[in-house]
C-alpha cells in the first residue's frame, strides 16, 4: 500500500509537472512567436523606411540642378541615412539566403550612391550632366523596384506568418482551456480512485470487525492485498484464535458443570450402585434360584457394572488424572499399544476377515516428556474406534514423523472403514457423542483432553482414499522445565 501511495503521489506530481511544463512551454513558445512576429513587423517597418529614404534621395536627385534643388548637405545627409537604413537590415537577418540578398541590395545601393555622388560632383556640359542624372535616376528606380519587390514578397510572407502565428496561438489557447477544464477532472478522478483504494479495505476490515463483534466468529476477510492483506491475515488469525478460545471457554464451562455433576453423581449414584451390586451378589449366592432368575441377577450385575464404568469414565473426564511426566519414545509407546491391541482386542474382528496393521514409524523421533499411560490410552482408544469401524476387516495404518521446523511429533492413525459422518465431523471430540450402541461418548473427548494436556492437538478428517484419518501433533518437550512452562 505504501508503494501504491508513493506511486500515486508520484503520478500526481508527474501530472502536475507535465501540465506545468506544458503551460510554461506553450506560453513561452507563444511569446516567442509573438516576439518574432513583432520583430518581423519591425523589419517590415525598416524596409518601408528604407524605401522612403531611397525615394527621398530620388526626389533630391530629380530636383537637383533646378531652382528647387536641396542643398548638397541635405542630399548627402539623406544619402547617408539611406546607407544606414540598409546597414540596419543586416542587424535583423541572419539566414545565408537573406544575407546574400541583402548584400546584393547593399551593393546596388552603393552603386546608386556612386552615381548620385557623380551627379553631385560632376562639372561638365549639360548633356553629360543630364545623361549622368538620368542614369542615376534609373539606378534609383531599379533600387526602388527591388525594395518594393522585397517588401511585396516579405509582406506576403509576413501575412502568412501572422496568420500561422495567430492560428498557433488559437490552438495553444484551446489547449490551455482544455487543460484548465480537463486537468481538475483528471486530478479529481485520480483522487477519488486513490481514496477508494484506501477506504475500501478499511471499510472491509471495519465490517469484519463489526461482524466479529456480533458473534460471527467464522467470518473471514478475503481479497485484500499488500499491507491490508497482511492486516486481513492477522485479523483472520485473531478471529480463529478467538473462536478457539471461545470453544475452550465453553468446554471449560462444560467441564465445570460436568465436574460438579460428577461429584454429585459420585456421592449420590456410585455408592447406591455399590450397595445394589453387593446386595444382588449376596442374594444370588444365598438364594436358590432357577436358571432364569440366575440370568436375571447376572444381567442386573452386568448393568450395574456398566453404570460403574460409565461413572468411572465420567469421573475421569470431569477430573482427569494429572499426567506422570517422563521422557518417552512415542514410537515405543505406539508399539506397545499396538501389541496390547493385537493381544487383547484384535480377535473380535478376525472373525470377519481380520485387520491388517501397517506401521510406518519415522526415524529420528526425539524423546519427549509425556505420560506414557495416557498416550497409550489415547492410541488404544483410537485403535479400538478404528477396529469398530472396520467390522468387516481392513487396514489400520499407523505413521509417525518428526516435523523439525515445528519441533513436533506427528502421529497419523488411518483406517479403511466407512469414514466419519460429515454431520458429526465438527463435534467428533465433544463429550457424550457416540455412534455405538454401548458407547459412553466420552472416549474421544478424553483423548482430546489428554493430548491438549500434553500441549498438543488432535483432529479428524476423512481420507480422500476412504476411511477416517486421525492426526495427533505433540510438541517435543525435552525437560521438566518445558513441561512446567507450558502445563
Amino acid at each position: 500500500m505504501k508503494k501504491k501511495i508513493l506511486i500515486g503521489l508520484g503520478i500526481l506530481s508527474l501530472l502536475f509537472m507535465l501540465i506545468g511544463a506544458y503551460v510554461i512551454v506553450t506560453v513561452d513558445r507563444a511569446t516567442s512567436r509573438l516576439d518574432h512576429l513583432v520583430k518581423l513587423h519591425q523589419v517590415e517597418i525598416l524596409r518601408e523606411h528604407l524605401l522612403l529614404q531611397i525615394k527621398r534621395v530620388q526626389s533630391d536627385l530629380a530636383w537637383s540642378g533646378t531652382r528647387y534643388a536641396s542643398g548638397v548637405d541635405t542630399i548627402v545627409s539623406h544619402g547617408l541615412q539611406m546607407g544606414k537604413g540598409i546597414d540596419r537590415c543586416f542587424l535583423c537577418h541572419h539566414s545565408p539566403q537573406v544575407t546574400e540578398g541583402l548584400v546584393d541590395l547593399k551593393r546596388q545601393t552603393e552603386s546608386y550612391e556612386d552615381f548620385l555622388s557623380h551627379v553631385l560632383t560632376l562639372e561638365a556640359n549639360r548633356v553629360r550632366r543630364e545623361a549622368e542624372k538620368d542614369e542615376a535616376i534609373r539606378r534609383g528606380q531599379d533600387l526602388i523596384a527591388k525594395v518594393n519587390g522585397i517588401i511585396a514578397l516579405t509582406s506576403r510572407n509576413l501575412e502568412s506568418n501572422t496568420r500561422a502565428v495567430f492560428r498557433q496561438i488559437a490552438i495553444t489557447k484551446t489547449m490551455l482551456f482544455l487543460l484548465i477544464a480537463v486537468g481538475p477532472v483528471i486530478l479529481m478522478t485520480l483522487g477519488v480512485l486513490f481514496t477508494r483504494a484506501l477506504t475500501r479495505p478499511v471499510n472491509t476490515l471495519l465490517t469484519a470487525t463489526r461482524r466479529l463483534k456480533g458473534g460471527a466468529l467464522d467470518h473471514r476477510v478475503e481479497g485484500l492485498k499488500d499491507e491490508f492483506g497482511e492486516l486481513a491475515t492477522s485479523f483472520n488469525e485473531m478471529a480463529g484464535s478467538l473462536k478457539e478460545q471461545m470453544q475452550k471457554m465453553q468446554r471449560t464451562e462444560q467441564m465445570v458443570v460436568v465436574g460438579e455433576l460428577a461429584a454429585g453423581l459420585g456421592h449420590e449414584v456410585k455408592n447406591p450402585l455399590a450397595g445394589i451390586k453387593a446386595a444382588v451378589n449376596l442374594l444370588s449366592e444365598e438364594l436358590t434360584l432357577n436358571r432364569e432368575d440366575q440370568d436375571l441377577f447376572s444381567r442386573i450385575v452386568e448393568q450395574v457394572g456398566r453404570l460403574e464404568a460409565l461413572m468411572k469414565g465420567f469421573l475421569n473426564f470431569a477430573k482427569p488424572p494429572k499426567p506422570q511426566w517422563e521422557r518417552v519414545s512415542v514410537n515405543e509407546v505406539l508399539e506397545t499399544t499396538i501389541d496390547f491391541y493385537l493381544v487383547s482386542h484384535r480377535p473380535s474382528s478376525q472373525a470377519f476377515g481380520g485387520i491388517d496393521i501397517q506401521k510406518s514409524m519415522g526415524d529420528g523421533l526425539p524423546r519427549t516428556m509425556a505420560d506414557p499411560m495416557q498416550l497409550q490410552q489415547v492410541f488404544l482408544n483410537l485403535f479400538l474406534n478404528a477396529g469398530d469401524a472396520m467390522s468387516n476387516g481392513g487396514t489400520l495404518a499407523v505413521k509417525t514423523l518428526y516435523d523439525a521446523p515445528a519441533d513436533s511429533i506427528r502421529i497419523e492413525i488411518r483406517d479403511t472403514g466407512p469414514g466419519i459422518d460429515p454431520e458429526i465431523m465438527g463435534r467428533m471430540f465433544s463429550p457424550f457423542l457416540t455412534t455405538k450402541p454401548k458407547g459412553t461418548g466420552l472416549g474421544l473427548a478424553i483423548c482430546r483432553q489428554m493430548i491438549e494436556r500434553h500441549g498438543g492437538s488432535v483432529g479428524a478428517e476423512n481420507d480422500p482414499a476412504g476411511g477416517a484419518l486421525f492426526r495427533i501433533v505433540l510438541p517435543v518437550k525435552r525437560g521438566e522445565e518445558e513441561v512446567k512452562a507450558t502445563w
Binding site: V72, D73, V76, G79, L80, G83, E113, D114, L116, S117, H118, L120, T121, L122, E123, A124, N125, R126, R128
Partner: protein, 303 residues
C-alpha cells in the same frame, strides 16, 4: 503637542532644504567649441564622409573640440567661398591647399602616412587599352575627364602633361573636357567608355585597381606626375594656436594610442605626420610652370 510642532518644523526645514537643492542650477560649463571641417572628394562623397567620421569623433573626444564634417563638391569656387561656407578648415588636396593658403591663409597641420610609408601621391593619366590612344597626339578630338580645378592630380598635372606635349588649349584640342568631381569618377568614366582619357591620384587608382580587376585589364597609364603631399588637415589662420596645437598633438600621437590605432586602421593610414608649406614645393612649381596666379586664380562659372 510641543513635540508635534517641533517635528513639523523640522520637516518644513528639511523640505525647504530639499527644494533648494532641487532648484539649484547645474554648474555652468564653458560652451563647447565646434570646428566645421570640409572634405574634398577623393572618392564617392558618401564613402568619403564615412571614412572621415571616426577620425572626427576621435579628435572630438581627445581634444574636447567638437569636430563636424561637411562634404565639399569642388563645384563652384569652394576656395573663394570658404568664409561664406563657415568652414574652419578642410582636408585639402595639395593644389586645393596651395590655393586656399594663398587666398584664405589657411595653415596645413598634418597629413596621413600610409602603411607602405608613403605620405604623398602622384597623378596618373590613363586611357583604355583598346581605345587606340598611346600618345597625346592621338588624344585629339577625344573626351578628357579631369577631377576638379583645385586638384593637383586632377588638374595641374594633366595641364602640365598636355602643355609639355604641345597642347596649348585643351578645351579645343579635346572634343570635351569635363570635371568628374572625384578621382573615382574619372576612373569609372574611362572604364565605362564615357571618357577616353582620364586623370586621377595614384592612391585612388591603385586602391580601385585592387578592388576591380577590370582596371588592370582594361586601362593603361600613359603618364605620371611628381609627388605631392597627401590630403592634409588645414585650418583657418584665425583659429587659436592652442586649438591647432591640440588637433596636431592628437593627430600626431594617434598611432601611440590603442583607440587611435583602431581609427587609423579604419582610415587606412599608419599615422599622421606634421605638414608644412615646404612640402607643397612640387605643386608650387607646377603652378608656376602653368603661370597660375594663385591669389587670383579664378574658377569658371558653371554652365
Amino acid at each position: 503637542m510641543k513635540m508635534l510642532l517641533l517635528a513639523f518644523s523640522l520637516c518644513a526645514v528639511l523640505a525647504a532644504g530639499c527644494a533648494r537643492q532641487e532648484t539649484a542650477a547645474p554648474p555652468s560649463s564653458p560652451p563647447e567649441m565646434t570646428l566645421l571641417i570640409g572634405l574634398t572628394p577623393e572618392h564617392n562623397i558618401f564613402k568619403q564622409i564615412r571614412r572621415y567620421e571616426p577620425l572626427a569623433d576621435y579628435l572630438s573626444e581627445k581634444t574636447g573640440v567638437r569636430v563636424t564634417l561637411k562634404v565639399l563638391t569642388y563645384r563652384g569656387n569652394v576656395i573663394d567661398n570658404f568664409q561664406s561656407l563657415k568652414l574652419d578648415g578642410a582636408f585639402f588636396g595639395s593644389f586645393g591647399y596651395v590655393l586656399a593658403h594663398a587666398k584664405q591663409g589657411v595653415v596645413a597641420l598634418a597629413r596621413p602616412e600610409y602603411p607602405d610609408g608613403s605620405s604623398s601621391y602622384h597623378g596618373v593619366l590613363f586611357v583604355r587599352k583598346d581605345g587606340g590612344i598611346r600618345t597625346v597626339r592621338q588624344m585629339k578630338g577625344k573626351r578628357l575627364a579631369l577631377v576638379a580645378r583645385a586638384t593637383t592630380a586632377g588638374y595641374l598635372f594633366p595641364m602640365i602633361f598636355l602643355k609639355r606635349a604641345g597642347v596649348v588649349n585643351p578645351e579645343t584640342f579635346f572634343r570635351e573636357v569635363y570635371y568628374a568631381g572625384a578621382h573615382e569618377g574619372t576612373i569609372d568614366d574611362v572604364l565605362d567608355r564615357k571618357a577616353d582619357v582620364g586623370v586621377s591620384k595614384n592612391t585612388v587608382y591603385d586602391r580601385f585597381a585592387a578592388e576591380n580587376p577590370r582596371i588592370g585589364r582594361e586601362l593603361l597609364i600613359l603618364g605620371e606626375s611628381d609627388e605631392a603631399p597627401e590630403n592634409a588637415l588645414a585650418l583657418r589662420k584665425e583659429i587659436e594656436d592652442s586649438v591647432k596645437g591640440k588637433l596636431v598633438d592628437a593627430l600626431i600621437a594617434m598611432h601611440a594610442d590603442p583607440e587611435g590605432v583602431k581609427v587609423l586602421k579604419a582610415f587606412g593610414a599608419r599615422r599622421f605626420i606634421a605638414t608644412t608649406d615646404t612640402d607643397y614645393a612640387p605643386v608650387m612649381t607646377y603652378a608656376r610652370e602653368l603661370g597660375i596666379d594663385l591669389a587670383n586664380f579664378r574658377f569658371p562659372a558653371e554652365e
